[in-house]
Symmetry: C2
Subunit: 274 residues, 2 copies
């Protein structure tokens, strides 16, 4: 089966809404920003908003919907977050319950939705410059690790940062830091390079999430704050009912990658969060 | 003996010119750009200019004087390069001959002078942000190493890059990359982090130039293109007569550090030169 490639987000979202597309959004609508989704009962929305503001590297906020509204008016004003993601994961009391292709039927009246930037944006910027992203090239999921880096807590939301690891050829490491720093709304610059054990990672061959990706002798592993962090935080918080996108099955916005580029960004997650 | 601290470059340069100051310029005139000096017979000037343009990370060009002119009209139009550096090193046939405090008496009619940016600029930017520069704090010279990184040759000028090494606390490494990248005319971003052996450095405790500076367990060694590179290149080229500043005894310009800041720089020496 060949996977159809979509160019325009509104076309892909309509196809998803009508049930014709339930796959990963990786590689779809190149140049458009994709987003992680978190949906919470309004009772928890204030604390989670503060959590995102305190932990911008793992939780870069693109938009928060108004209570009970499922239209993201800033990033895709014609879309509906109840129907326009290919797959959703439902969590009950912090425990994964099931994966569904729509949440329209769920009793989630009054939910607040958070859209958080995702690393697809900076991966594309790197690939366009000829920097090889090994897991993309090998068709694997990125390697992700739990770390010892404490998150800034907010209400019931707390825990440790999850990071993604990408092995980069040693001649492109500094360039990779500089290019990804321009996308603070897509996790931004790496938060670590050089000594994984200092952030609590003991074995690069055994990721906690995703696939193992080998690091060759001429490659340096770089570590970025990861969008799986809020998933772990939600599990810790044991919220009665929560919704997230299914990993790799993101919300595709109408924003262009260039719209969230900040050419002067000096944001450095290592400074504030380690 | 206490060392007098100067604020204004023109006052320091006058004191140097009159023989009252022959020490290192490190820490003098904070906020003003200091420069490496290279003086060559005009016959070699074209090739060396091209060499600088091909190897911008180690040889970031601030100004080239016109043949026979010793006034740097762009960076300090009241100064005289024959008298306004505290110490000069003279090279004959590529071999160090002597250190002098003026080159006014030397038969160097028709020489061309090159002023190249220096790392004092980015060190100051880091210290202002609270990033500790260990060798500065310990009053040592920075550690410098010969590498296996080939320079782009031009005429008689060729060789391998020399790098300076600074151990940075692991929580400030990415910030250090981003901040120094803003100063491409002061060597810019590091050219390497992570695996010194990949650039031909086998033992961090035995620098080829400068002082040994220890790397603790919570520090990561970062490597920058170094202004000692042209010194090694000049030696290789065996030019009949050449002049350089004596290490640490720089030309202090009227430029402010902010004048050479490039907030959007993505220059990455690793990409083009490794």
């Amino acid at each position: 089966m060949t996977i159809r490639r979509y160019v325009k987000p509104e076309i892909l979202r309509r196809e998803i809404r009508e049930g014709g597309f339930t796959g990963t959004t990786a590689g779809q609508c190149p140049g458009y920003v994709q987003a992680n989704l978190v949906g919470l009962p309004p009772k928890y929305a204030g604390d989670f908003l503060t959590f995102c503001e305190k932990n911008r590297a793992p939780c870069p906020l693109l938009e928060v919907t108004r209570t009970g509204m499922s239209v993201p008016e800033i990033v895709a004003k014609e879309a509906d977050l109840l129907t326009d993601l290919p797959r959703y994961d439902i969590f009950v009391d912090g425990v994964y319950a099931e994966t569904v292709t729509t949440i329209k039927g769920l009793d989630i009246g009054g939910m607040v939705f958070f859209l958080l930037g995702c690393s697809f944006t900076f991966e594309r910027a790197l690939i366009e410059r000829g920097v090889e992203i090994k897991n993309v090239k090998e068709g694997k999921n990125v390697s992700m690790f739990r770390t010892s880096i404490q998150l800034e807590p907010s209400g019931p939301f707390s825990g440790e940062m999850v990071v993604s690891m990408r092995p980069i050829h040693y001649t492109r490491v500094i360039e990779t830091v500089l290019v990804t720093a321009r996308y603070p709304l897509a996790h931004g610059a790496p938060l670590h390079v050089g000594a994984p054990h200092l952030i609590g990672i003991s074995n690069l061959e055994s990721p906690d999430f995703g696939d193992p990706v080998s690091v060759e002798g001429d490659e340096i592993p770089l570590f970025w704050a990861c969008g799986v962090t809020p998933r772990v935080v939600l599990e810790n918080a044991r919220i009665p009912l929560a919704v997230m996108h299914h990993p790799g099955h993101m919300f595709v916005t109408d924003l262009r990658d260039g719209d969230i580029q900040d050419r002067e960004s000096l944001d450095s997650p290592t400074n504030s969060e380690l």
